[in-house]
């Protein structure tokens, strides 16, 4: 097959991208920012309508906070209730530098761990701010009545999570995301009652409306009636989560999608580091073609479970009959100091390495064991049940096996996307007035996110960052009067309507799910846990072909003027088919291995990731240049003034 050489391998231009991180000492930057931010007169806040898309941790916390400040908030979500956003599924916990256990944690240490864990591909200023704010989040959540786990003395309990050397993770059983989200949802409900927030559920954002170079509104589809609706505002906050469903199978919810973010990208917002995806090491393996999602097993399990495979590729014995000497505890062997607690990207790649050698277990051979036998012997069954009872139950429900007796079978699955729309220190995109919060932006996790940091970031953005930075924008911008009668609204709505009609009119021979599954397979095979140049070139080409076929041959059921989930999915898969190619191009251009991005050409003699700080210590931000044109690469150079990028070693 002849494959065209993409011109993204050219040296990227040094670009105009400015992160606008304030000057001053790292510890002072956020204070400096707040001291100098313009304020909106309290009496004027209610004259400003802010549109918030998505009601996960970032969106709900932003709506609650900005509503509380007096802004006029319009909040929209695709679910039937704001309480169902996918943040709800986060199990493990939320980090904060409270140092309640007195085990040596500090704001600096949380900052340092996060930036190192991200393999030095994030901004110092942002990450430090995140660590500073982390403590306020816990205070806020407790004041809302979030029932975090407590010790007998009545104070909050902490645990160590994801290989951290200190116990800084707050948790509410295995349902931390649920409890934090309900806290934010309840705070938002309070503002709904106060009349400060208008909540519109079952709405999908299909377009961003840009007038005079500023984000001034959105077009949504009412998912019950199919009507297109126009919403006008002074700023748009996108809090729409990640794009892991580009891989079809992931731990994301069925409706998680990139559409809102992608539409903004096509209206001028740069997309940063799209190839940085997190593949979580402890998920329940795929069992068949009908599979619709993958279920994560909290990585807290690795605190007590030991990961192994048989030493012999032909060993078909049940695990209990494989003697100690014939087991390979490969994480403990390869990483003696961190053992089973190495970061997610390292653990996932190691699982891939052993299954690639044919050592995988289970029906498909695409699994490894996570074994609690020794922990049960050491601590007793009750202790293990207290720690992981609900997770074991969940595992048993899905697989029919009980982990108290048979080791779990686990395998990596797509879980989180570190990439996302590019934002500056104020969380504003390259489109003035469009802000992006939470997983939907690219900002704080670099090339790999640490456990218990997603909840922290979503809530930091919504509760504590955006109230300051949005105010600065509103107070400083010349916002002319715009109504939904503006011609740009009409044009944008027409574009959204035409796309829906086109999808329904194809009436081809393949379902949306078939296309989605095919895309997912390409992504998993070539843009997954390990990547190489040929595979990425092939993937980009295959996705282009699949996308062309999509618009010729997709079969979308039903009509536009009613609830029609197949039509919703059709739009989302159409966008994934564009994003997927960009992910491959981004992975292709980044000729280094860092964090979750592992290029086979760039590794050490022992097979570990080899970063290239001289050439790639930058954020790759892609600009849309037309539907059939290649995106233009811009770079934001990352400067490390306070930490010296070192090689991550967990040996």
């Amino acid at each position: 097959m002849e494959i065209a050489e993409p011109h993204v391998t050219e040296r990227p231009e040094r670009s105009r991208l400015k992160a606008r991180v304030p000057a001053g000492r790292l510890q002072d930057k956020w204070d400096v920012y707040k001291n100098n931010a313009k304020l909106v007169n309290p009496a004027n806040k209610r004259k400003h309508t802010i549109i918030i898309v998505g009601t996960g941790l970032a969106g709900a916390s932003a709506a609650a906070t900005l509503g509380g400040l007096g802004y006029n908030i319009k909040s929209l979500c695709i679910q039937d209730s704001a309480r169902r956003a996918h943040s709800i599924a986060a199990q493990g916990g939320i980090n904060a530098a409270k140092n309640y256990p007195n085990d040596g944690d500090t704001i600096w240490r949380l900052f340092y761990d996060t930036i190192k864990g991200g393999d030095y591909r994030s901004r110092e200023g942002n990450v430090y701010r995140l660590a500073q704010i982390s403590n306020n989040i816990i205070d806020q959540a407790v004041a809302q009545g979030v029932p975090f786990a407590r010790e007998y003395g009545g104070l909050l309990d902490n645990r160590s999570f994801g290989g951290a050397q200190v116990s800084r993770t707050f948790y509410a059983r295995g349902q931390t995301g649920q409890q934090l989200l309900l806290g934010a949802y309840q705070a938002m409900s309070h503002q709904i009652q106060e009349g400060r927030v208008e909540m519109l559920p079952r709405r999908e954002m299909l377009e961003l409306v840009v007038i005079d170079g500023r984000a001034r509104g959105i077009v949504t589809r009412n998912l019950v009636t199919g009507e297109l609706e126009r919403h006008v505002g002074d700023a748009v906050l996108l809090c729409t989560g990640g794009y892991g469903n580009a891989y079809y199978l992931s731990t994301n919810a069925q409706n998680s999608n990139v559409t809102a973010a992608w539409r903004c990208h096509k209206r001028g917002a740069f997309f940063a580091n799209p190839c940085f995806t997190q593949i979580h090491p402890t998920c329940i393996p795929v069992s068949g073609d009908y599979q619709s999602k993958l279920t994560l097993m909290s990585e807290s399990l690795r605190n007590d479970g030991r990961v192994w495979v048989p030493k012999d590729t032909n060993d078909a014995r049940p695990p209990s009959q494989i003697p100690e000497g014939e087991r390979d505890y490969y994480l403990e062997r390869r990483y003696p100091s961190f053992g089973n607690l190495v970061p997610r990207d390292v653990a996932s790649r190691a699982a891939k390495a052993v299954t690639d050698e044919g050592l995988g277990v289970g029906e498909t051979n695409l699994a490894v064991y996570l074994d609690f036998r020794d922990a049960i012997e050491r601590l007793g069954r009750q202790a293990i049940e207290d720690r992981y009872g609900n997770l074991f139950e969940m595992y048993e429900r899905i697989t029919g096996d009980t982990p108290y007796e048979v080791p779990m079978r686990i395998f990596p699955a797509v879980h989180y996307t570190m990439g996302g729309l590019w934002v500056d220190y104020e969380l504003m995109t390259t489109v003035p007035g469009l802000f992006v919060l939470g997983e939907a932006n690219f900002s704080d996790h670099g090339a790999n996110r640490l456990g218990a940091s997603a909840l922290m970031q979503g809530l930091a953005d919504g509760y504590f960052v955006i109230p300051y930075t949005l105010g600065g924008y509103i107070a400083g911008a010349e916002l002319g009067d715009v109504t939904i009668g503006h011609s740009t609204f009409a044009d944008t709505e027409r574009a959204a309507g035409e796309r829906l009609r086109r999808l329904l009119d194809v009436k081809g021979g393949k379902t949306v799910a078939e296309f989605h599954r095919e895309l997912g397979q390409i992504m998993w095979d070539h843009v997954g846990m390990s990547r190489n140049r040929d595979g990425l070139l092939q993937a980009a080409e295959a996705i282009r072909r699949l996308r062309d076929e999509y618009w010729q041959n997709v079969n979308v059921a039903g009509r536009n003027d009613t609830l029609n989930k197949n039509l919703e999915f059709a739009g989302r898969v159409g966008d994934f088919l564009e994003l997927g190619e960009m992910m491959a191009l981004d992975a292709l251009h980044r000729e280094e291995s860092c964090g979750g991005h592992f290029r086979e050409e760039h590794k050490t003699a022992e097979g570990e990731a080899l970063r290239d700080d001289d050439d790639f210590a930058y954020v790759a931000a892609w600009e849309h240049t037309g539907d059939h044109a290649r995106p233009q690469l811009h770079r934001e150079d990352l400067e490390f003034e306070y930490v010296r990028p070192s090689t991550r070693s967990y040996k």
Binding site: Q178, I398, F464, G558
Partner: protein, 247 residues
């Protein structure tokens, strides 16, 4: 295995509905019940028919989107399990399974198996929170809470808002849903300042939405995917009486 399905089809809120019959072959026992519906929908789409609409999202029992009456039981035969977590190994070859939406006046049908549960959001907005604005919260450890109270609060707080309690109740009461939030916040010192207003406003809203009264059938507890105890309802009643008496 092969299963026969009788599924409620209804084109819109005001259209008449009916049970339509389908057969799915080659059902794998590891499939979830919703994956079975996916397989059926793929077939329907390929044959040019409209797929069956049903709400779902996380498919791991936590978002509360899914909710079906399966064989006359809310969320199907397995206790403490949302329908998205029910796997086909709990059925037998040749079974006929009836699938219907939640039925309650306060949950009008939108289409097929999809209902409108926004009444729950309005009950929450009536008082299911602690009215603190962002910022200015005291240190998280300033207020100790006994482990027992915190654990109990967490038990009640684990409600996923799916509506199974309403669907299972002969009176279509939303008492377990409402009470679980009242009980969660009543267990904690943070919830104390507003406990009177909270219970009065939430109970009023529950009635205004057209949910029925609780007459202690306990069907709600039996189907609750999180196993929330009806002790929440007893607690709500005590809170209510106390609030009325003190006003």
């Amino acid at each position: 295995m092969t299963v026969h399905l009788r599924i409620w089809r209804q084109a819109g809120p005001d259209s008449p509905g009916r049970l339509a019959e389908y057969t799915v072959e080659d059902v794998n026992e590891h499939m979830s019940f919703l994956e079975l519906l996916d397989v059926l929908n793929e077939k329907l789409i390929t044959e040019g028919e409209e797929p069956i609409e049903f709400d779902n999202d996380c498919r791991e029992g936590i978002c509360g989107s899914c909710g079906l009456m399966v064989g006359g039981v809310a969320h199907g035969p397995q206790p403490r399990t949302a329908i998205c977590q029910l796997h086909m190994r709990h059925f037998n070859d040749g079974d006929t399974i009836v699938v219907e939406p939640w039925r309650a006046t306060a949950f009008p049908i939108i289409k097929d198996l999809v209902v409108d549960r926004s009444a729950f959001d309005r009950i929450m907005a009536a008082g299911g929170y602690v009215s603190v604005k962002t910022g200015g919260a005291p240190d998280a450890n300033a207020l100790p809470v006994t482990k027992e109270d915190a654990d109990l609060a967490m038990d009640y707080a684990s409600c996923i808002g799916c509506g199974a309690c309403v669907a299972a109740c002969p009176n279509s009461s939303a008492s377990l849903f409402t009470a679980s939030k009242i009980a969660h916040l009543a267990m904690l010192p943070q919830g104390t300042p507003e406990r009177r207003r909270r219970v009065l406003n939430m109970v009023d809203q529950m009635e205004a939405e057209g949910f029925g009264d609780c007459s202690n059938h306990a069907e709600c507890e039996a189907v609750c995917p999180k196993g929330i105890s009806i002790s929440a309802i007893a607690l709500m009643r005590r809170e209510y009486v106390r609030a009325v008496l003190s006003s």
